[in-house]
Assembly symmetry: C2
Homo-oligomer: 149 residues x 2
Amino acid sequence: MASDCALCRGDGGALVWRGERLRVIHAHEPHFPAFYRVVWNAHAAEFTDLAPHERAHCMQAVALVEQVLREQLTPAKINLAALGNVVPHLHWHVIARFDWDSHFPAPVWDAPRRAQDTARIAALAARQPLVHDDLCARLGAWAGAPSLR
Amino acid sequence: MASDCALCRGDGGALVWRGERLRVIHAHEPHFPAFYRVVWNAHAAEFTDLAPHERAHCMQAVALVEQVLREQLTPAKINLAALGNVVPHLHWHVIARFDWDSHFPAPVWDAPRRAQDTARIAALAARQPLVHDDLCARLGAWAGAPSLR
């Protein structure tokens, strides 16, 4: 644990599920209501700071989150990214993208392409409870244990 | 193979190494001379369109490229991303980032933070042959076969 690291000090968002080695949070990104992060619990900066079996475990969780978002929300595309330039504690962004979202097809970090569609954003946000229930159920079954939170 | 897909029709950049299931290319991003992509050879849009053993294989290659970039270039951070909003054919960006680069600590898709440091960019670009040799050697050893190109 690094005392000056935001992802060691806190969850980093609304906690959806916590396992022994990683957690899944819902990011506070109001323009993108289907923006999740898989955060490695221990402090590690780079993907290759993890042992091979830990990397495999991590990517199984990322794939599981992607699969739930695809099944629940039918997005135009899933975006996956581990950047960590500002907070160098391994976290995978898992973002469901839609052709109507403010930035599509640009990355969410690029400049917006169009105005926000507040009605569609609200409709997507309203589906969060279903997504979170499915994430908890599937992650729990995968880990062989319910959430630790 | 999808006839209208740029990553089915061509390599998508300067080919560094090709294996049976994936290839590694050096991206033509002049401001970021340590920008690579791991491209799945078969047409698949999403990470979870791959079978679990294929995802594991893919991420082993991504990790190997990351490891070579870290060892050869000692970057401030590695950035990994699979976006594919424009070209929905699975490709992983593997980018070595430096605290002096034009966008750091922002993502490369964000607005630049400072002018390009042409001398440092040139010095980094000059190391490409060493990086490519190491990538070919390590990927070949990992795959148990030399490059198919």
